[in-house]
Subunit: 305 residues, 2 copies
DNA sequence: ACCACTTATACAAATTTTGTATAATTATCA
DNA sequence: TGATAATTATACAAAATTTGTATAAGTGGT
């Protein structure tokens, strides 16, 4: 039972004749006769009662007519859906992101994307840097907005810098250093640290440690919460100080004071990652939208960061 | 887009490989490769991202996978339904009948048929003899239980006698002839007649007229109602007498008296009609059931007729 | 660097489908 | 009643399509 056969069958049934069907299908009557009789043989039923003067559909034929009509309609529907998916009119887009780093601009981006591609279903996944890398590698995400990827992954992906953040210090209110408007890293050397757990963001952890080393000390890490918000709560509770990207000031910082560092520290870029050999049309469209909006994103992040 | 192609596609998608699909389908890898690439060309989308080490389905491919799976399931369903319809397990049976003539035995027949063929939908159509002939000819009925067909139609159909009825007289209660237990037709010569309208049952009408003629008079027909029940009501109301098959005593005869005729009149057979060149399996099964039950039908009709 | 395994391509072989010619049947019309 | 026109079925050759074989090219793992 092939689609072409069903088309022939439907034509015969609707036109009530083999010759008429052949004319409509731009083929020749014996070909129609053979297709139908082979279909009948395959199914083991007769589909038409035919004389030289009349072609009448059987009950089995009427059943097949109903089914075949549905199948042909579904074939057409499938063709349309597949083509639309191929061009990005239809589909899904799974975005992974670092919550605090994108909070200021991602909602507007997604809103604009959804307006332009209303048929693409957008899913948002907030994760840690480590989870993002893994999900991206495993194909559970189409794009991610996160920190630079580990070198082992970087060559499979295309990455664009979106904006650069910097490390700042967070202190509890009433801390000994609270009166300073700006701190050198070395000022923190004698204070206990709270740091985001290394698994969640290895690069950040290592960078903080190396910044401390460069300032002449090893941080005394007394806690490693599993979320940035928990780090800020710990700091706000007076448990210790932390060094973190400035963007986490977007979270709830009650009880915390933010202080810029007077040292020159390595910038912390936020990047857009896409695996080009797996990028669907919708993914590419989102990447293009981000790239086109870099200016306004940087303006927002430069101001509110 | 052909069913065979879709089967190949689904195999590749599920097994995530061209070679594996080829093995499962008992074909060879290049054939699979070609089918897929031609499908991609036809649809204008790529369905898989492939390297020599991995085959990954695209978004368009996932869409097609969903659709193709449905199409294949429907194809299988269609095959099953068509075959069941062909063998009579599934289908419909449209029975036309003369109400009063079959009232005593048709319900039991239909009940038995439905029990044996529960998947066949039975439709019952009560009609006049004239309507039955027309509906049967036009293919709106599969079988009819009615009087002998007009000669022009008879050769297209197969007909079996079910039982034979006879003409009897119906008189109003208190009629001049009411005291006679049995009447010659000639006794009715001076009384006005009510006869079922000729269009509805031409043979019956003509037969009554010819019976009267044979008895030496022409009936004085003062009314021709369009249903047998209406004829009986007219008779019961004292409007006139009638001659009709005995079976109509099945109807409401209040105010009417039934009197057998002492004349030898032509029997009025009830027949089963089937058009053999259009008979579906279900229709044939019903005909066989009727033929097998002739004995008990005749017993019922001989007693209660 | 080699091995094992994959997909893509080229070309010949096999299969399937189509088209031409023709037979057989049947309603219609003179 | 016989001729006509229109229909479907069949046989066989031609065309088109599909498949299989051989082989190239690429990639991850040892």
């Amino acid at each position: 039972m092939e689609i072409r056969t069903l088309k022939t069958f439907v034509a015969v049934a609707n036109l009530k004749g083999f010759s008429a069907a052949a004319r409509q299908l731009n083929m020749v009557q014996p070909a129609v006769s053979r297709q139908i009789s082979e279909l009948e043989e395959e199914l083991g039923v007769s589909l038409f009662w035919r004389s030289t003067r009349e072609v009448r559909i059987t009950a089995a034929g009427e059943t097949l007519l109903r089914e075949a009509t549905e199948i042909l309609a579904q074939e057409e529907r499938a063709r349309l859906l597949v083509q639309r998916t191929g061009t990005g009119e239809l589909g899904r887009l799974r975005i992974g992101f670092l919550g605090s780093a994108v909070q200021a601009f991602l909602p507007a981006l997604v809103r604009e994307f959804s307006a332009r591609f209303p048929q693409i279903q957008v899913s948002l996944f907030e994760m840690t840097a480590g989870e993002l890398a893994e999900a991206l590698m495993a194909g559970r995400l189409d794009v991610s907005l996160s920190r630079p990827l580990p070198p082992a992954m970087a060559d499979r992906f295309e990455s664009w810098d979106i904006y650069s953040d910097r490390l700042v210090a967070f202190l509890p209110e009433g801390h000994a250093l609270a009166s300073e408007p700006c701190l050198p890293v070395s000022a923190l050397s004698t204070h206990p640290f709270v740091l985001f757990q290394r698994d969640g963001a290895p690069d950040l952890f290592d960078q903080v440690v190396s910044v401390c080393n460069a300032a002449g000390f090893s941080p005394d890490i007394l806690a490693q919460p599993n979320s940035m918000q928990a780090v800020l709560i710990a700091v706000g509770s007076g448990l210790g100080v932390t060094l973190a990207p400035a963007c986490i000031a977007q979270l709830n910082t009650s009880g915390c004071l933010e202080r810029p560092l007077s040292d020159q520290t390595v910038p912390i870029p936020l990047q857009l990652h896409v695996r080009p050999d797996r990028a669907e049309a919708g993914t590419q469209a989102f990447a293009a939208l981000v790239k086109g909006g870099l200016g306004s994103i940087r303006k927002i992040m430069g101001a509110g960061g």
